[in-house]
């Protein structure tokens, strides 16, 4: 390369860096860059992993010998509850989200995710929520009902302390981050791929992450609903899960496992994505059966939502349901087997290079296949009745989660380590780390299957000698400590490599994917220029790509306008349709998360006025954040006579915001459907269900409020239609009118609510009705508020004929609000009338 070329590159680098860099020092708390946020997620996740690991060591110490009393039952119950909770919610999911946030833009040839500030909000919600949950342990009042928090053990009567509240509020807070990541990853993968990267050319890892993201979108809302309902029961006595008030503790189990089983695959799929990414690289050939893998991923996603009841085989369910869920649980073996054999076929036809990541992949295979096989056993009901809730299940779930998630994750860490640090991992310590972990793990958990078969239930803090469990438990404890030594070795290895690892060459493993065309260590903007793609294996077919990208030979190199820009592309073909201008560093996400943290803490200590302050401040920060959008000067000011080719996304009606809104509403809709599920479930299955006599709420008022809402929506709809045609006369007036009509709807519904004769603390029936009404009210209010803000923005010139973006984003929210309103009237008010009061 010529000297002039190097200088030019350097100048381009500096221009891009000025626009994309994080602020320095402590102000980097306002950073939104996906590389930074992804690393923060992963680092925080690893810290939580170590803390939960120490808890596991304490558990194993207590169980090493029979009849020990090193740890009291009270503390022991907190320890295993927190171990499970922290590992699942604060380690496994966030660390994988972090990895996805870090990798996805680099894999699809983008400079950042499409909603960078949402990434930042998600991280702070995760961090604050995690700290709140962990503080309960420090205060000695941690949740102690097990990580699935079965009612009534977790209800106010049997768990009177704040432990359960820490769990319910903290986990819900953390879940905001999962939802944020799920929505953001879905839209980024679908709408910001490099030009020409059609779905068929997408790296297989992106398919896995897309499936994970969508599963988060549909999987988490049932748990969020359940947590809200249980917290309402605990705090104000609404008896959703209490038999005496017409509730049912089994409803909790359904809602929990409706989330809980997909969750296992939410964890497994990205890990399997790592396996599918690494194997072809080390086998030096393309993956065999790409389409089969995609099919397997989609199948896994669907099947995993249909087998939650296999966690509940012992609650006494009808034979037909048993058979159905038993078959469904076993069928999930099919997509898993497809993947295992596609990997096998790839190795079979490739020339395999040995390496540390591959060692972990082999470890993964052994452990995970073993866990999968015991999983099929557990799906068989008569056997399940014996080993359910014993140490057999403890062994199984650790085989699946450690084998299916931790091993591939460590493989991935080692594989992408040179990308992060620019240095290669070492061999010796890394091998020791693997073998200690692998042997320690199997000593601990292989034997534990037998402990369970010999009758040891899970979650017992001690046991009598002479039951045949003594030496098994002792060996399991020894194995646990060997595994801990292995993990320590890995951490030491990774820490030392930053100092002593030899510098990595470009693309050190000879990979085919685009992330190795970014700088190693990565630069803030990933790619100096954005290439067109014609293949699934860009670096194999054009090895010069890293150079041409860095020297600015591809698209979107102009940053003189100071905007952060990426391509917005077609969801299927990957053809560029517009240029997305991204928001830059910002404090609003941190402030909004602080507002939410205030809500969480004040609900914990039950100072409700303070919680209201938190809600209002979070809302204000979020709306203020949304203000810097469209043609706002800090986004992309409208210049008279401007023309962009391709156009800026805020000048179109199909930007990422619309997709983000639709995906958010899919999550929201799942939350609402879970509420309907709960309602119908209680009607049909709750043992003490009772329905009050007479009309509790004035139907005519509800209908009248619905008519106002519908009129508001039609006004809004008309305005958006005109806008799409390029007409913005009367736009502001129509928005004002729609906003006011929406306000009228809220007022009428509040009136109906005030005059309603509901006894939500006495009857589950009334409690569900109240939750539904508040939900509907909240949506009507928010729709009206957003519309009023749109009216103001039209006045400011941020929205209009040339910038039609935002009303198009708000529109689906109106449709949703009107939809759930009338659906609620039908399902919650009219259907019971038709049904009649049960005798």
């Amino acid at each position: 390369m010529t000297e002039a070329g190097t200088e030019e590159r350097q100048a381009l680098h500096q221009r891009l860096e000025r626009v994309w860099a994080n602020p320095p020092g402590w102000r980097s708390l306002a950073a939104v860059n996906h590389t930074t946020i992804g690393l923060r997620f992963m680092a925080t996740g690893v810290v939580f992993f170590l803390i939960a690991g120490v808890m596991a060591m304490l558990v194993r110490t207590q169980l090493a010998l029979p009849a020990q009393d090193i740890i009291s039952p009270d503390v022991y119950n907190q320890l295993f509850t927190m171990h499970g909770t922290v590992m699942m919610f604060l380690f496994a999911i966030p660390v994988l989200e972090g990895m996805a946030l870090y990798m996805i833009p680099k894999l699809i040839g983008a400079r950042d995710l499409v909603f960078p500030r949402i990434s930042s909000l998600g991280y702070y919600c995760y961090l604050f929520g995690g700290l709140i949950i962990l503080s309960s342990m420090v205060l000695g009042m941690a949740p102690d009902s097990g990580w699935f928090m079965y009612t009534p053990l977790s209800s106010a009567e049997y768990a009177p302390g704040p432990g359960s509240d820490f769990w319910l509020l903290g986990i819900t807070f953390v879940e905001i981050s999962a939802m944020a990541a799920g929505i953001e990853l879905t839209v980024s993968i679908l709408r910001s791929r490099a030009n020409g990267m059609s779905l068929r050319r997408m790296p297989i890892f992106c398919w896995y992450i897309l499936a994970m993201a969508l599963m988060i979108v549909f999987g988490f809302p049932p748990l969020i609903l359940a947590s809200v309902l249980l917290e309402l029961e605990r705090a104000v006595g609404m008896p959703f899960f209490e038999v005496a008030g017409g509730g049912d503790p089994i409803l909790w189990q359904h809602l929990f496992w409706l989330f809980g089983h997909p969750e296992v695959y939410i964890i497994f799929l990205p890990a399997a994505g790592i396996v599918s990414t690494l194997i072809p690289v080390f086998a030096q050939r393309p993956i065999v059966g790409y389409r089969w893998l995609v099919l397997a991923i989609i199948l896994t996603g669907f099947i995993s939502f249909g087998l939650w009841v296999h966690h509940m085989f012992t609650i006494g369910i009808p034979k037909l349901a048993q058979a159905f869920f038993s078959v469904a649980s076993m069928l999930v073996a099919v997509p898993t087997a497809i993947q295992v054999f596609a990997w096998l076929a790839t190795l079979w036809t490739g020339r395999v290079v040995y390496s540390l990541p591959m060692l972990w992949i082999i470890g993964f295979l052994v452990v995970f296949v073993c866990g999968g096989l015991t999983g099929v056993m557990l799906a068989l009901v008569p056997f399940n009745w014996q080993v359910h809730d014993t140490h057999f299940v403890v062994a199984h779930l650790h085989y699946v989660l450690v084998g299916g998630m931790l091993f591939p994750l460590i493989a991935g860490f080692y594989y992408w380590l040179p990308h992060l640090s620019g240095r290669m991992p070492t061999r010796v310590l890394g091998n020791w780390g693997f073998w200690l972990t692998f042997i320690g793990f199997n000593v601990t958990f292989l034997l534990m299957h037998l402990t369970g078969l010999l009758g040891m239930p899970r979650r017992v803090y001690t046991y009598e000698p002479g039951l045949g469990w003594d030496w098994l438990n002792l060996l399991s404890s020894v194995g646990g400590f060997i595994m801990a030594a292995g993990i320590a070795m890995i951490i030491l290895d990774i820490a030392l490599h930053f100092r002593f690892g030899r510098p990595a060459p470009r693309n050190p493993w000879g990979a085919d994917t685009l992330e190795w065309a970014t700088g190693t260590p990565p630069v803030s903007y990933n790619f100096a220029s954005l290439p067109d793609l014609r293949t699934r294996h860009p670096l194999w077919e054009s090895p010069e790509l890293p150079d041409t990208i860095a020297s600015g030979e591809h698209g979107l190199t102009d940053v003189s306008h100071g905007r952060r820009e990426i391509y917005g592309s077609d969801a299927i073909t990957g053809k560029v349709r517009h240029v997305i201008h991204l928001p830059g560093n910002s404090w609003w996400p941190l402030f909004a998360a602080m507002g939410l943290a205030l809500v969480c803490v004040s609900l914990l200590v039950r100072v409700y006025p303070l919680a209201l302050v938190g809600v209002v401040s979070a809302l204000v920060f979020l709306l203020r954040w949304s203000w810097e959008n469209g043609a706002h000067p800090s986004a992309a000011l409208l210049v008279h006579g401007e023309s962009h080719d391709p156009p800026l996304h805020s000048r179109t009606t199909d930007g990422p915001g619309l997709w983000g809104m639709v995906v958010t509403l899919m999550a929201n809709g799942t939350f609402y459907l879970s509420l309907i599920f709960g309602w119908l479930y209680l009607w049909t299955a709750s043992p003490g269900w009772s329905v009050p006599e007479g009309e509790q709420i004035a139907l005519w008022l509800v209908i009248a409020s619905g008519l106002a809402l519908t009129a508001a929506w039609m006004d809004f709809e008309g305005a958006v239609r005109a806008l799409r045609r390029g007409v913005d006369q009367g736009l502001q007036r129509r928005f004002w009118r729609a906003g006011l009509l929406g306000g009228g709807h809220v007022a009428l519904l509040l009136w109906a609510l005030r005059d309603a004769s509901l006894a939500p603390t006495a009857l589950a029936h009334d409690a569900v009705l109240l939750v539904m009404l508040v939900y509907v009210l909240g949506h009507g209010g928010l729709a009206a508020l957003l519309t009023v803000l749109q009216a103001v923005r039209v006045g400011k010139g941020y929205v209009g004929r040339h910038v039609p973006y935002e009303p198009v984003v708000v529109r689906p929210f109106w449709v949703y609000t009107v939809g759930i309103f009338w659906l609620s009237v039908a399902v919650f008010l009219l259907l019971p009338m038709a049904w009649g009061t049960p005798a």
Partner: protein
């Protein structure tokens, strides 16, 4: 896993692998069959992988890669799991049949068990007998245990006789329990229920029919 099993035997007062009743016996059989099969699958899959990593693939054309793909994915991804599942269900579903009350069960002794934190209230409603933490049953015939709870969810489990069934407030579940040999069988709460969960034990004593009738007589008198 064989070696530790040989070392320990499969005994123990709570061992599911030392069954003393028909339900536990069929579950134990299922276990041994599934264990043997799963071990074979695990060893074969891992061996294939390790071999695939070592072998020299030679010159792989696109067609031969396609053939390998079809062979492995159809054989391993579809045929293997589907055949295994079908076989498993063919044996498993009938095995589960006798763990729930059967239509053919007539004149079966009924025992009500109500779980409390952290003890078991036992009663024989037709005979009017009340006990704590112990059940007595006649050997060789099924009894129906009606399980419910007064507070949180517990689970009624006698590993050597049958699978577990949850005791849930507001609901009553019926477990079909049968012992094929006399003796005292240990039971334990299997669903985590709080601080005393580890010690929520009970026993089931199976008597020969004559002894059981005597026991009933005696219990009635002492209950009065």
């Amino acid at each position: 896993m064989f070696i530790p099993m040989l070392l320990s035997g499969c005994g123990g007062p709570l061992s599911t692998l030392d069954p003393a009743g028909p339900a536990a016996a069929s579950a134990a059989w299922l276990w041994w069959a599934m264990f043997a099969f799963a071990t074979v699958v695990l060893i074969v899959v891992v061996a294939l992988w390790l071999y695939a990593m070592r072998r020299d693939p030679g010159d792989v054309t696109d067609e031969s890669a396609q053939r390998v793909q079809n062979r492995w994915i159809v054989g391993g991804g579809f045929v293997l799991p589907l055949v295994s599942i079908t076989a498993l269900l063919a044996f498993g579903i009938p095995a589960g049949h006798n763990m729930m009350p059967l239509a053919s069960d007539e004149d079966v002794l009924r025992i009500d068990v109500t779980a409390h934190r952290w003890w078991w209230e036992v009663s024989y409603p037709e005979e009017g007998i009340a006990l704590n933490n112990e059940l007595h049953i006649p050997v060789g015939v099924p009894v129906h245990v009606h399980v419910t709870s007064e507070d949180v969810i517990h689970s009624f489990w006698v590993p050597r006789l049958a699978g577990k069934l949850d005791a849930i407030p507001g609901r009553t579940n019926v477990l079909r329990l049968q012992a094929d040999e006399t003796g005292i069988f240990q039971g334990k709460c299997a669903e985590f229920c709080g601080a005393g969960h580890a010690h929520m034990d009970f026993t089931v004593e199976a008597h020969p029919q004559d002894d059981f009738d005597d026991w009933l007589e005696e219990a009635l008198q002492s209950n009065d």
